[in-house]
């Protein structure tokens, strides 16, 4: 190994123009390396679009098939928590974007602050999500595990929701399909939350690295690409929120 680096070092002095230590040897310029990495990150995000795309398509089709069940299932969600979580996630996207700017400007402590804020807001999002999940558990609305049709066969028994929506009782066959709504609810928000957990894990690593000054040397690729991932997760939520929480409010 030391031999190899010595040779690489020697050729560099002879032939190549000088380049920063973080430029990979097979790239001609930093610009080329940045373009290639950016392209690769977007290709990964495309696979993510298609991954969530399958869930969105399933939601679209089942919502059309079992419309009344999906409407009443949706009435069980709290618009308050959903809105608050949307605001939290958008704010975390903003702090992440500011983090990228700080890295570009080589502001080390500001970058650490932005990353920590993003990390904390990510945790707040998951905290609120777990409050919502807990409520589903309490009300026996966890498909396959702990499910009860009372809220849909006899909506008046579910006081809080009934006061808001005055839903009519669903026939048994349709009421059973509310389980499908909650299945998709948990699958979509759960996969989204998993992406958040992975993101928070990477953020932990990044905060340590940023403190050591790893991203404020002019090489911002890692922060930038993580930013793309984080914003992507934000976009998924931007669509989940209206589809799961909002659009069924007036549908009866």
């Amino acid at each position: 190994m030391p031999e190899n680096t010595a040779i690489a070092g020697a050729t560099e002095v002879e032939g190549h123009h000088e380049h920063p230590p973080y430029q990979r040897h097979h790239f001609e310029t930093m610009g080329q390396q940045n373009d290639a990495t950016n392209f690769a990150m977007w290709l990964f995000l495309l696979t993510e679009i298609m991954f969530f795309g399958g869930l969105f398509t399933a939601y679209l089709i089942y919502r059309n098939w079992y419309y009344p069940a999906f409407v009443q299932g949706s009435h069980q969600l709290s618009i308050f928590w959903g809105t608050l979580n949307t605001a939290v996630l958008i704010t975390s996207s903003f702090t992440m974007a500011m983090g990228v700017w700080c890295a570009e400007m080589r502001k080390k402590s500001a970058l650490v602050l932005c990353l920590v804020l993003t990390f904390v807001l990510g945790l707040v999002f998951l905290g609120i999500k777990s409050i919502e999940y807990h409520e589903k558990w309490e009300k026996h609305h966890v498909p396959g595990l702990r499910y009860n049709l009372d809220s849909f066969l006899n909506p008046a028994s579910d006081h809080e929701v009934y006061q808001e929506y005055h839903d009519k009782p669903l026939p048994l066959d349709m009421a059973r399909h509310t389980e499908l709504y909650f299945f998709l609810y948990f699958a979509m928000t759960g996969m989204h939350a998993l992406h958040m957990i992975i993101g928070i894990g990477i953020l932990t690593f990044m905060i340590i690295q940023a403190q050591r000054g790893a991203y404020t040397t002019g090489h911002v690729t890692f922060v930038e690409n993580f930013g793309l991932y984080w914003h992507f997760v934000d976009i998924i939520w931007i669509f989940l929120f209206p589809l799961l929480y909002l659009i069924s409010r007036h549908a009866n």
């Binding site: 795309g53 089709i61 589809l243």
Partner: protein, 102 residues
């Protein structure tokens, strides 16, 4: 490769980030408010329309696509296009299976 046009690294200013952030919050408020107004089938259209505008703001500015290379723009577009194929081909199948038997 020397004639390969590399993108100049454009740094988006914090001011613009703040503007986008505030617009996203406003649009969130708007979409919640709109859901409380009875618009029949237009509730879905309005909610998804606002979501698309929000997503576009995030993609163009937070994700820097507005300032990115043509390659990146094409990549993003092809992703959306493939997603649209997924949606429309699937729907075309479901709609036409029971054709005339609704």
């Amino acid at each position: 490769m020397s004639n390969h046009a590399e993108t100049e690294h454009h740094i988006v200013s914090p001011k613009l980030y703040v503007v986008i952030f505030l617009s996203l919050l406003c649009l969130t408020g708007l979409t919640v408010a709109a859901s409380y107004v009875e618009m029949y089938s237009f509730n879905v259209v309005v909610a998804l329309g606002i979501a698309i505008v929000k997503a576009m703001l995030v993609v163009l500015f937070f994700m820097h696509v507005k300032y990115s290379s043509k390659l990146t723009k094409l990549t993003v577009f092809s992703g959306l296009f493939t997603f649209m194929v997924l949606i429309f081909m699937t729907l075309a199948d479901y709609i036409s299976r029971a054709w005339g038997r609704w």
